[in-house]
């Protein structure tokens, strides 16, 4: 045994473990593409639920999108919504089980295209739920078609020559819209491709669940993420592209907090 190996073995001991996968993630390997941000958000969500010790009180809603199988990974009770309808399911659940924590997990196609009405109205009613919104600027699951959030000139399988805003409309900042509605209490935009962002995102998720407990209204957390498959880039290139192109258009930060509405 060489010295380095010995040292390593000395460090890799239970008492020195500072980071491990949360127990609330199942053993099932994610089906996501290598480098996809969905996995990070899944983990953060489960970490928060573990830390708040609310597994027994939480019901999650999976969307139709790449994260359609989220319930395979999250060790909590979950329901699978029809495409875009997660906020309606969440409303039905929260209204009949007001003591539970209810969250939806939705993509940009799901939340900002087909589900626009459900998004706007659940936010407007101020349902006491948490919406986790993964904005990867594309329809990942169905093979990379344009999403409402696809940037100008960005290529996708339905805009192979780039999104022509005159023809296909503008990228939609739905988060800015819902921030305007009195029913939302906390609206924020985060990311997960850098460690600092990851830490902030986790804090935001935790806050959202706390506000839910306090019945303050709807918390809406947009997470700008990559879809390296859909974007046809390597994961690291995708994250760079995200930083340079998505974030200028979708700037990170809180749009609304209960403290300053």
């Amino acid at each position: 045994m060489d010295e380095q190996q010995a040292k390593t073995e000395d460090i890799i001991k239970k008492e020195n473990l500072v980071f491990d996968k949360t127990k609330l993630l199942t053993d099932k390997a994610f089906h996501y593409c290598p480098g996809c941000g969905h996995g990070v958000v899944h983990r953060l969500l489960m970490e928060v639920i573990e830390e708040l010790d609310i597994q027994e009180k939480t019901i999650g809603i999976a969307p139709v999108g790449c994260s359609v199988l989220a319930y395979h990974y999250m060790d909590i009770d979950m329901q699978e919504a029809a495409h875009g309808r997660a906020p309606a399911l969440a409303t039905g659940i929260k209204r009949t089980l007001p003591e539970k924590y209810v969250f939806t997990y939705q993509g940009d196609g799901d939340l900002a295209a087909i589900g626009t009405a459900e998004t706007i109205h659940s936010c407007n009613r101020g349902e006491n739920i948490t919406i986790i919104f993964i904005n990867n600027g594309i329809y990942g699951m169905t093979g990379g078609q344009m999403a409402p959030t696809t940037l100008e000139n960005m290529k996708s399988s339905t805009t192979p020559y780039g999104r022509n805003v005159k023809q296909m409309g503008n990228p939609l900042k739905i988060t800015e819209l819902v921030a305007q509605l009195p029913g939302t209490c906390f609206v924020t935009r985060q990311a997960v491709h850098k460690p600092a962002y990851v830490r902030k995102t986790k804090k935001a998720i935790k806050k959202a669940f706390k506000y839910q407990k306090q019945e303050m209204g709807l918390s809406f957390i947009e997470i700008v993420s990559n879809c390296n498959s859909g974007w046809k880039m390597t994961p690291n290139d995708a994250n760079k592209w995200l930083e340079n192109n998505m974030l200028p258009f979708y700037p990170l930060g809180d749009l609304k907090t209960p403290e300053k509405k």
């Binding site: 319930y71 979950m78 329901q79 699978e80």
Partner: protein, 361 residues
């Protein structure tokens, strides 16, 4: 005997929902059934029983709210009329696919499209064959009186929970708007969370340490498993067909000619039968109460007894196909119907029976 009230069919539905101990109603207004949500709102169900009431932003939102709450083992319902029911089709097939119990009321009006707000039975196919995609069935109850509107709420919920399957009450504008005497039942308590957890261990009520997580879904990517699931559904529908067929027979014992009609049409035909009997004609009426499961077996038996059948419908001829499938060529099966919101008259239905079935023999 319970309290007697004079109520509209739609009001009876609302009152029955509260009294059956329902946990929630989610709906969007549409004529001719808006009285359901209006009556509920006037009744303050939150105060009476703690039942949730929400006017959704659309029919689609409403049916998906039902999905969510039903997934938690809650007793919930929605109601609408034809165009709104068409919008709910995706949600309905999801609910059927996720095997959730719930109650859906369709107070049918004339179509297609915006059509008319007058009563119709032209959503028969949509209800019994499946207006949504995929192989599934609703349990379909067809009330023909305000009392049945009231009674079928509880019956519908019971069947829904018994089979984990959505139940539809297929009514129409006439029954929804009509007032009749209704005997009102006792107030049943809503289930507590503990009771729900015990009775419906599949419900998503929050994963406790003592059980695996519950998942409500209709997704299955592996075709082999999906097919297994489809077979499980078929098996369930077979059981329902075996155990839950309901119908009423009016003067069928010695009938030589049979009218088959449900809902409002059955009310009409009941009178046609009276008149016919007065004229010495041996006419009977079979009124299917469950449209799915359809009283196939009984109709097939009656085909050995009668000389012909007439399906009377407020449609261009939908149920008649199920009657024919049941009869399988044994005797002639004809159809008489009116459309567009027009209710056939007693006299014309009888006249048609005479022309097509009695005379034709």
């Amino acid at each position: 005997m319970g309290e007697l009230r004079l109520m509209k069919g739609n009001e009876a539905i609302a009152e029955a929902a509260i009294r059956s101990g329902a946990d929630g109603y989610f709906g969007y207004p549409i004529t001719p059934q808006s009285e359901v949500i209006e009556h509920l709102a006037a009744q303050k169900p939150e105060e009476r029983t703690g039942m949730t009431l929400l006017q959704a932003e659309s029919e689609i939102a409403a049916i998906n709210m039902v999905y969510g709450a039903a997934g938690c083992g809650k007793k919930v319902m929605t109601s609408s009329s034809s165009p709104g029911i068409s919008l709910k089709q995706e949600g309905i097939t999801y609910i059927a696919g996720a095997e959730l119990p719930c109650l859906i009321l369709n107070v049918v009006r004339g179509g297609p499209g915006l059509g008319t707000i007058q009563p119709s039975q032209s959503d028969y196919f949509q209800s019994v064959k499946g207006g949504g995609h995929g192989d599934y069935h609703l349990i379909v109850l067809a009330p023909s009186s305000v009392q049945e509107m009231y009674d079928f709420v509880e019956l519908g919920f019971d069947l829904a929970f018994k089979y984990r399957n959505p139940t539809m009450i297929l009514s129409d504008g006439a029954i929804g708007q009509m007032m009749e005497k209704v005997e009102i039942g006792e107030q049943k308590p809503r289930l507590t969370e503990e009771q729900i957890k015990e009775k419906y261990p599949w419900a998503t009520t929050g994963k406790t340490k003592d059980r695996e997580k519950n998942v409500i879904t209709s997704l299955e990517l592996e075709p082999e498993k999906m097919e297994q699931f489809n077979r499980k559904l078929i098996e369930k529908y077979r059981k329902i067909e075996e155990n839950e067929v309901r119908y009423e027979e009016i003067q069928c014992e010695d009938a030589e000619y049979l009218m088959v009609a449900y809902g409002t049409s059955a009310r009409i035909c009941q009178k046609s039968v009276q008149i016919a009997r007065n004229e010495g004609l041996k006419v009977g009426l079979l009124r299917p109460i469950t449209l799915f499961p359809f009283p196939r077996k009984r109709i097939n038996e009656l085909a050995d007894q009668v000389k012909g059948m007439l399906s009377v419908e407020m449609s261009s001829g939908q149920m008649v196909e199920d009657v024919r499938l049941a009869v399988n060529g044994k005797v002639p099966v004809e159809y008489y119907g009116r459309m567009g919101g027009i209710v056939p008259s007693t006299e014309e239905a009888l006249k048609d029976l005479k022309q097509k079935i009695i005379g034709g023999k």
